[in-house]
Symmetry: D2
Subunit: 349 residues, 4 copies
Amino acid sequence: MAKKVAIIGASGYTGGELLRWALMHSEMDVSQITSERFAGQAATKLNPNLRGFTQLAFTPVKELKNDVDAIFICTPHKTGAQYVKQFFETGVKIVDLSADFRLHNKDTYAKYYQEHPHPDLLQHAVYGLPELHREEIKKAKLVACPGCLATSIILPLAPLVKAKLISVEGIIADSKIGSSAGGAGFDISTHHPERQGGVRSYKPHGHRHTAEIEQELSAINGAPVSVGMTPHGIEMVRGIMSTVHVRQTGKLADIDLWKAYRSFFTGSPFVRLVKDQQTLYRYPEPKPVVGTNFADIGWELDQEKGRIIIMSAIDNLVKGSGGQAIQNFNLMNGFDEKMGLWQPGFHPL
Amino acid sequence: MAKKVAIIGASGYTGGELLRWALMHSEMDVSQITSERFAGQAATKLNPNLRGFTQLAFTPVKELKNDVDAIFICTPHKTGAQYVKQFFETGVKIVDLSADFRLHNKDTYAKYYQEHPHPDLLQHAVYGLPELHREEIKKAKLVACPGCLATSIILPLAPLVKAKLISVEGIIADSKIGSSAGGAGFDISTHHPERQGGVRSYKPHGHRHTAEIEQELSAINGAPVSVGMTPHGIEMVRGIMSTVHVRQTGKLADIDLWKAYRSFFTGSPFVRLVKDQQTLYRYPEPKPVVGTNFADIGWELDQEKGRIIIMSAIDNLVKGSGGQAIQNFNLMNGFDEKMGLWQPGFHPL
Amino acid sequence: MAKKVAIIGASGYTGGELLRWALMHSEMDVSQITSERFAGQAATKLNPNLRGFTQLAFTPVKELKNDVDAIFICTPHKTGAQYVKQFFETGVKIVDLSADFRLHNKDTYAKYYQEHPHPDLLQHAVYGLPELHREEIKKAKLVACPGCLATSIILPLAPLVKAKLISVEGIIADSKIGSSAGGAGFDISTHHPERQGGVRSYKPHGHRHTAEIEQELSAINGAPVSVGMTPHGIEMVRGIMSTVHVRQTGKLADIDLWKAYRSFFTGSPFVRLVKDQQTLYRYPEPKPVVGTNFADIGWELDQEKGRIIIMSAIDNLVKGSGGQAIQNFNLMNGFDEKMGLWQPGFHPL
Amino acid sequence: MAKKVAIIGASGYTGGELLRWALMHSEMDVSQITSERFAGQAATKLNPNLRGFTQLAFTPVKELKNDVDAIFICTPHKTGAQYVKQFFETGVKIVDLSADFRLHNKDTYAKYYQEHPHPDLLQHAVYGLPELHREEIKKAKLVACPGCLATSIILPLAPLVKAKLISVEGIIADSKIGSSAGGAGFDISTHHPERQGGVRSYKPHGHRHTAEIEQELSAINGAPVSVGMTPHGIEMVRGIMSTVHVRQTGKLADIDLWKAYRSFFTGSPFVRLVKDQQTLYRYPEPKPVVGTNFADIGWELDQEKGRIIIMSAIDNLVKGSGGQAIQNFNLMNGFDEKMGLWQPGFHPL
């Protein structure tokens, strides 16, 4: 029998995307979606793509019923922690897509966000990147889904950090990201005439996702890893392309990287290594992964400069949030990791 | 047991899209894909989205084996007819996506294309628009898939023509279409700097799809229907928005149109009537149908001018070609029309 | 000596564009720009393109000094009329870019907008389309600049209406327009993820510009002309492409249209007739006119359907507002119509 | 009296852009434009923006007359050198926009291009970046215009290298570039459906412009400077955004960078320092510089990581080629550097 699930804060882009995948999932039965602002309105009012697929309407969170097997939390940070607190003791499985339980250290959380409202719960959360924590996720009651930029930067770096192939100092992650990553909230910066065709470095340094990137890579490394991340909003609705510039620790051959990546991602169906000789799409690009849960990863050795240019591409709303949440849900429930997510992208798109 | 199918001319965008859907279809087993130009190369070289979903490589058509249940022909016109001729007698079911068997009248075909190479076969072909010819398609051996623009214009007009609600003189169809409709072939007109952000009326009148539009609507009307069609290439890869301007025959009320549309499309799961009061997406738009087999149709009565503005939106590569081909395949094989096609779009995209 | 000018309501896109052209104009000296909301802030805060070209800051309108030769009003309708009232008696030349003085008939104004606040002034206003009213503009104290869509639809129709070559019933104007036409105000409909790549028929009928289009064409015709206008927001920031579908009154030849257009636009430097045999840009398109004051006009006869497809392209912020305002200013001051405006567009753009 | 100039290889995007600016320049008289492929055709066939601005037609280069004051060479590399050879002895001033005379060292040229056809002429060429070599350019007979990416990377780095504020090891330049930079030639990679919305790292390392970047910065430094450059084609026709990641040599304050930049660019009208506190466009972006000769430069200190993120934005076809060529022409002829180029961009665009 399918699992009953509820989505809290379902009126944003993350919640909408999660709802889309959940509706098509053979083992999920979405019983409730909440939104304070849009309470009483049909989900299809905000999600025209779902016309014909659901009759669900948003309800206020206070009307949420307890008879669910899993809860997905798609609210902003701080609010997320409150719902985790509220439901954690009920035993329901929780997938939290807010930022509140990604960081294990409450001081780091305080530095990047604010004082943590429920630091006692931090110890129960597993960082929900299946390629790194698959076994813990299977047993977890509370999974904290990674940030979209973090996903696109941790995945390509983890194998090389683990294999000690690169310098852990001075890593540069230069990311290009679509406008949907900013969410459904709007202001002058997202006004079409101002945003269209632009390249905007909206946060050249100190982006919050830096904290979780460094947490995860440092854990793998057994010592601090430092990543300078600079995201750029570019003309694209969905998609992230992260170009990660690292220094080789010694003279590497291409085969060394193939080995490190293949070894690390064995058993991880949603990571594709993309490095062809001649095709147009010989490196990862966002377009072929839009609408999918894949993370495409490729690289090139620059022997003259002793560096490696690593490229990774994901759909920020799928592998970067809603799809990854379902991947975690699948693992937490003993389902095949790919269930309901095994879809190719579109070409051309 | 799944049906074995082959795709002839699979290296274009239509063939690639068809392949995508066929690979995900539970009752289809794609055994062969042909391309002369790319023979020997992997399908994923042209379709980076399909990495991880197929090991198929293109073969030359002469190596095509006979042991298939259905053949999809995705070649340009004229070439299409030759393959239909070649396979028609073998008894295999044929879905032809070229333009060669859409027109019943060989003179009309000659006027818009060239002399028909195999006019004797025209009588066997059914025009593959399920919403108009569902029962004939179920019994057909040869189905001719409609053009993408034609699909987007016939569907919104058919119910009103049938119900005699509009003048059949001076209908204007002003279409906006994405660049993928031109196919994988390129020239200066599709060069990104020249095509990006443009609005180009590349064929203000006399577009070939006019012939099939008038054929189908005239048949419904029992008398000639005249449609002036003007397509515009706009900034979009996938998608067609057709705005159809017609005159009311008498004073109509909104309910008259609702009745005509609802009645006509009962039992047609892929047509959605979109006409809301307040939402942002209150009329059809291409974005919510991209990646889907839906045709969204809406309208507005302009009582002051005695006209109706009808809007329809499809994905030219899905409902406009590859998806519709599978919809026809499903019908020809007695499957549920929706099989393998029941997917919502993405929002935002 | 250069004329001193002030711009009221300068913080919007129309005001910003006007400021740009005015700063580069050899006979204009912009002494004041007003904005209530941005009072005290530098013009370059909203117009990053003007860095290095002006030190002007916005002032509240109450601080506006009287010692100017001309005032440009760039506020929304209703507010525009108040400023016209305030300054009309001072003898300063007024170019009003709001909609308040475009319509001669106060009842028509009331139907499309609201009760007119100062109907007594209507008789003093000249409709500021130089190609139609050049001589009156030269003598006018108050010029009402046309709407952007209206400009793109009146210009291609006027010569054919005047020459009695087309039916004045059932004209269809299907326009495609960029997002900047909606102005600097934002809401969910202009949020980049919702607006990007879309085709949105936001006002299928009854658009306000219909009133001025019919007013101007009816005056030329000496009898009512009816135009059904349907604008679509498409993926573009600047630019309008209007495709106008009309019926021929008799059997026309191409030369008949050439004659009508050439005759009408003799002496109008900003109208270019674009109708080539072979080039890629053989019809008008927005891209080559972006950033210019040109209106490109072309057409094709559809003899089979007895119709004409007329295409016109302008930059909504230049010929559609700020540039046309300066063209009017030039005429009102006895300057060369082209002064400060004679700039080609960019290719590719 | 205006200088007579000829443009060799005028049918590409660089030549077309140069022609545009030259036609508007009060001291330039374009007497000839050459193209083998388009000989006999009007310039406006390829440049629809120039309709009404020129009657020039392309001629084959062999018909080029000698009576010109300056020649602009816009051909690909290798061909460029041949024309330089042909005209150098005639005493005409030469502005070469090909890559052939940018590198002083023939071995470096051979490594990145091919054996240099005329190495004897290398000593006569001045690298045409006015902000670095203004005085030499004034006296030069042969100026080699910089590459577009090189311009966007050298300018933001030169002041910091000169002031010894940054490490000259491990500099990373991550550039985002529009499709027009690839020129008018097309293939599948520039086909709109494949290129639109993409982020493509087409040359992760070893890009040819690296050579001139390192040449110029090393000269300033008095010792080798190493730059790892990774350009990405993104959704944009015009524009380059280079994000340059460098390490501070010591603990720097913001004022140190302001001083270094202000000092270096005193007297350079086309460099604007862009670093605001609050505005939307507080860092450089391509949009406000499109259509202009400006290079906007900004930065942010990342004290935690000891790095600096430097951002620079140019229009690849103006400051990146055609505009810079005219800036050089102005200097070579003793004109004001800004002559014919002092135009602001557009907002919004």
